[in-house]
Amino acid sequence: MNRRRFLQFSAGLGGMSALIAACGSTSQSPNVSSTQPAASAPSDQKLAKTLNWYNWGNYVADSILQKFKEEFGVTVNVDTYSSNEEMEAKFKAGGNPGYDLITPSDYMVSKMAAAGLLEKLDFNNIPNYALIDPSLKNTYFDPTNEYSVAYNWGTTGFAYNKNKVPEPITSWKQVIEWPAELRGKLGMLDDVRELLAVGLRVLGYSGNSSSPAEINAARDLLIELKRRANYTLTDSPTAGANLVAGDVVGTMIYTPEAVTAREQNPDIVYVIPGDVSTIWQDNLCIPKGAPSKYTAEVFINFLCRPDIAAENANEIGLATPCAEAIKQGLIDEALIKDKTVYPDVAAMGNALEFLRKGDPAVDELFQRAFDEIRSA
């Protein structure tokens, strides 16, 4: 998943992923604020000077890193990745290269925890964890809440230009039945599991199916759609850019890029099709061997503070897991009222589904089906 501001950047400058550097004046004494955990700071509980965060591209508001620097005197360096597997590979091949904090998506948390690549968090240092929406705890990927704190969540839906399609699109079935007149104007995501999940769900199966027969049926449906609609397969930022430029009139897309596209062209509508869409959640985790675990925990706690969580969510246009920030009315009204950015998870019930990737044998089945679609 690429992230929202990546799109703005790539649309304007040509897609270089920017490295955010939290700059600022160098010598600032730590300013003990009320939000800092009240611990009698043993020697290992001293704040480090710098914190190294391996994060999705443009996935944090710069202003927040600046504030952390001002309040705690810690400079947060951010390196970026564009896929969970790219990030995972850094820790597998020869251990932690020096990162204190990472932001894996749902399935990757369980995968890395199982591989022993994650530290257990010390929640005594993260009192603001209590402010996180309880529905985002005890997840399938961290059932006992030991390794992760929710950072942002969103959905994989469909965005279209309402003036250029014959009727409003509300279901994946309509996407699969894309009209032949709009050939070449449909965009799908170049993501193995997301793409095949659309086929599986329209056929009435789970996006997490592991049955070769079901996966192949979904593949055939998507090949047939490719022959008729000649859809593009791109990443989400490119999908958003294509939609804004008019090269496609409807596209599968992640929430943050859809929000950006909508800001750039008010005719663009984002929907979360009710015939089951993907929900995903990115999480703050500390990788094994992190040089400054305590500082990372203080920073996680900082990110969970309502004012900070709200500022971050408003800037990157994603749903914050900080229930307290929502309760205090700190989220931009336009965002909070938008059921596509803050979907009513309880009401949508089974219409939202996590994609549980990471089983090698199942992944291979999907990848082959995907190669067949791409080559068709």
Partner: protein
């Protein structure tokens, strides 16, 4: 030290070789060997490469191969004897790369010829102009190309202004071809220019004195003499084209698939290192064989005129 080298010239040779040899061994041969080992491994429960050693990764590439001779005009003229997902992908990649190499050569040759015929003081300027694109990252240039080809991009805006119908360019096989040719053009021009610059033009005069027409002089005299440049340029163009990834991704929009893209996905999205390694090694072997055959045949060509 210097005296030591003077007394033992072979020691000096070894010292001179060392940085290059070290680089090649540490960053090419050893990783390649590791890849070779991984390509025979299985995957453990977490998907990491692990023993037992097996041929399955290679067999999987050919798993679905069936005999089915066919000629198709779909996406360029292709002739096939066998059919299968990855075999087709290999074949298509080689074919598209070959076409792109020929187009690149046809464009680059006149340019290099023009450069070599320039007055000496302008030649470096021309050379400089060819190398300017290298100052910008290839990814950024490909995004720029994407922008150029969009439905509302400069090319179509110009077409509309001229009262012509806009054409769909971006995310077509044509766009991929354009991207490949664009990206590889300097690598073809530079070796061609080097050969052509050294070309002795009195040879053409001699050929013409002996009754050759312009085409014969070009075909029988000039081309054989500049063939080292043609061979070097073609290999420098063909080999990267087969494995191209960024161009296929950004210009093809998922509508044109090449083997480089599928290999990259094995590593980046499902972390299936054994299968990805097997595909990558097989591709390397195929490309090396193709390059060696080409090299051989061109040496034959040179011999005929000497």
């Amino acid at each position: 030290m210097m005296q030591l080298f003077r007394r033992h010239p072979q020691l000096q040779a070894a010292a001179l070789m060392f940085p290059g040899a070290f680089w090649l061994i540490a960053f090419f041969l050893i990783p390649l060997a590791i890849m070779g080992v991984i390509s025979f491994m299985s995957r453990d429960a977490l998907g990491d490469p692990a023993p037992p050693y097996t041929l399955n990764n290679y067999l999987d590439i050919f798993r679905d191969v069936r005999f089915n001779p066919s000629i198709s005009l779909d996406g360029g003229f292709t002739v096939r004897l066998i059919e299968g997902l990855y075999v087709d992908l290999f074949w298509r990649s080689l074919w598209l790369s070959l076409i792109s190499t020929v187009i690149t050569l046809l464009i680059a040759f006149p340019v290099a010829l023009f450069m070599a015929r320039l007055p000496r003081r302008y030649r470096n300027l021309a050379l400089f102009a060819v190398m300017i694109p290298f100052w910008t990252n290839f990814l950024v240039r490909t995004y720029a190309l994407q922008f150029m080809l969009r439905g509302n991009g400069p090319i179509n805006t110009l077409l509309r202004a001229l009262g012509l119908a806009p054409i769909e360019l971006l995310f077509t096989p044509t766009a991929v071809m354009l991207g490949l040719v664009y990206g590889n053009l300097p690598f073809m021009i530079l070796p061609l220019y080097t050969s052509l610059e050294k070309f002795d033009w009195t040879m053409i005069e001699a050929a013409q004195d002996l009754g050759a027409n312009a085409w014969q002089a070009f075909r029988r005299v000039m081309l054989p003499l500049v063939s080292p440049g043609v061979v070097a340029g073609s290999i420098l163009t063909f080999v990267p084209a087969v494995g191209s990834y960024v161009t296929v991704d950004l210009m093809g929009g998922g509508r044109t698939n090449m083997i480089g893209y599928s290999i990259a996905q094995q590593f980046s999205t499902i972390a299936n290192w054994p299968f990805g390694s097997a595909m990558a090694l097989l591709m390397m072997i195929v490309v090396t064989v193709a390059a060696v055959l080409y090299f051989r045949s061109s040496r034959g060509e040179q011999r005929t005129i000497v």
